[in-house]
Amino acid sequence: MNQANSKRGYFGNWGGAFIPEVLHQTFTELNEAYLRVRGDETFWQEYVDLMANYSCRPTPLTFAENLTKHFGGARIYIKREDLNHTGAHKANNVMGQGLLVKRMGKKRVIAETGAGQHGVATATMAARFGFACTIYMGEEDVARQRPNVFWMEKLGATVVPVTDGSRTLKDAINEAFRDWVASMDSTHYVLGTVCGPHPFPEMVAWFQSIIGQEARKQILAQHGNMPAAVYACVGGGSNALGIFQGFMAERAVELVGVEAGGKGIDTDHHASRMTGTRAAAGVAQGYKTMFLQDDDGQMLDTHSIAAGLDYVGISPILADLGDSGRVRFEAATDREVIEALELTMRTEGIIPALESSHAFVQAFKDAPEMNPHEAIIINMSGRGDKDIFTIAHAFDDPSWKKFIIGRAQEYRKSSGE
């Protein structure tokens, strides 16, 4: 990413590094380390090789023939980040930061996680690199996402439930910072998305740009032309920026970011920062962006069916791209998400994560209006089978409920013995 603002770490009005003084030196060193590897082509090659050998990159760009026929408009291609090791694009960022941590000589990593996806990815990276690992996770998310907690623990990480605030993602981020201000000598904070203080947005965007680099080559090889539009869901914004970077310079390619519309952007239950009217400029969690907040500057509770989109802020880079009109923002409601997911499963045999399904919603709205010789790309940021508890719940599946009740009975019985 190029910085649109002369000030370090700013993108238009957004970004910066609003960090406690005690972290000043840590960020100085992080910036130095980052700039060193950024300028070192062998580092990028090492990263690409690692991702190829450990995580199956390049991930395919799958032509969705059935969906294309179904909508009868643009040719629909799906970038398959779900096929990454650990099941989502989060792997790109953590492995990149892992290599950086190795170069910095630190021995411990910490991370926040909401859905658990970034936590599992970080725990995986830590196991692979031999780092100690602590994951902060809102207590409510621990309760909702127990399977991911189980895997993190089995991967050797310590999962710390965060009992403060709304006990979700933003509180986990605060808690990770609290750890970091005490442990920065030995510890790197692996921020999970393109948010937080500089250099995180820029650095995470860089690691995620591997998605766009691949997708650009792939669409040219497969379609012969640039796509008309590229769709991605936007939580923090890392998968979106990852793929958008491959097409940023092509002004004719429309870039569409899809936020969590929750129960509707006119309700109090959503997480849309760039669409709707509940967000305003603010500074929190170390950076300046559009936050969902009240008139006093207190952060609001957010809602999304997709835990990974359930966040108050948005990447400063995306906020700027929204301002300039380079990225169009839309929102998808929980209900639309379930419908798009269902259709995609049945027609293509592909199970997008609830997060990713947001991108599918908007693509499905636009595709029928487009010309059959145009192509669009949907970034499938992750796979949905990690979400069995949420998805089965959302579908209100009676056999699933019976199954869970039966299991519980077994467990109750055996613990009663």
Binding site: G16, A17, F18, I19, P20, E21, V22, L23, H24, Q25, T26, D164, G165, K170, I173, N174, F177, R178, V181, A182, S183, M184, D185, A280, A281, G282, V283, A284, Q285, G286, F291, Q293, D295, D296, G297, Q298, M299
Partner: protein, 257 residues
């Protein structure tokens, strides 16, 4: 008289000054008022009035929960300012500062906030998530309205960094005794002593230091090494457990009265 000058004047008569802290609206403004009275009447020099924020990332669990609790009870920024205006009037012997996170100021409107605070007699601001690099307008507005933007020294600060930072600030330097968030006890050991030495040589501003102070001995140990002892979490715990009336005796004891 500006804050620095005021503190220096006080130091002529006292071996060490005392700054205390409370979270506005926790457990209520009425209790806050009583606590402040106890502090003021027992010789506290400065009080940090923390305006609650939903994301107090530099605070430890006690202050964090106090922030949340106050917000849950419905405290608003305007209430805090109104309350501060009364209190400053009522206790002219104390220097009051606002402690809060930058978003509160930013969202209120930086100039409105600083100007308003200056007008009611607030002496300075402690904003832990606003490093000087991000605080250009905050610093120039502070200058304009003659409020003190308090800067931080930390155990990780290089000499170069301290020299740069102290130039931006005024009032005093808030010295972080150790890495980590508020509320944890730190030993007054060699490494803290070394830090204080290097802090001292980097600035002529008074040094305020807190490290989980809870007894007369803690304060006594700081005398000669720092200019102001900072009591944060301890009084919140005290009020939680014993009520506001316990604060006066506690302060008196700390100061060896």
């Amino acid at each position: 008289m500006n804050l620095t000058a005021d503190l220096q004047k006080r130091l002529q008569n006292k071996p060490i000054l005392l700054m205390t802290h409370l979270v506005l609206g926790y457990p209520s403004l009425e209790v806050n008022r009583e606590v402040i009275r106890q502090m003021a009447e027992n010789g506290v020099d400065c009080i940090e009035l923390q305006i609650p924020f939903s994301e107090p990332m530099a605070d430890g669990p006690v202050i964090l929960r106090a922030n949340q609790d106050a917000l849950n009870r419905g405290i608003r920024v305007a209430d805090c300012i109104q309350f501060a205006a009364d209190i400053v009037q009522e206790f002219p012997q104390v220097n009051f500062l606002f402690m809060t996170y930058y978003n509160i100021i930013f969202r209120y409107g930086e100039e409105d906030f600083i100007k308003g605070a200056a007008e009611i007699g607030i002496k300075g601001f402690i904003v832990p998530d606003l490093p000087p690099e991000e605080g250009e307008s905050y610093l120039s507005l502070s200058k304009k309205y003659r409020t003190a933007p308090i800067m931080f020294f930390t155990p990780t600060s290089t000499e170069e960094r301290m020299r740069k930072v102290e130039k931006m600030g005024s009032g005093f330097i808030y010295c972080v005794a150790r890495k980590g968030v508020t509320g944890k006890k730190t030993a007054m050991d060699d490494s803290l002593a070394r830090s204080l030495n290097s802090y001292r040589s980097a600035t002529s501003l008074p040094l305020a230091v807190g490290f989980g102070i809870s007894s007369r001995e803690d304060v006594a140990m700081l005398e000669g090494k720092a200019d102001m002892a900072v009591i944060g979490t301890a009084t919140i715990r005290l009020v939680d457990n014993q009520g506001p009336a316990a604060v006066g005796p506690f302060i008196a004891e700390l100061l060896g009265h």
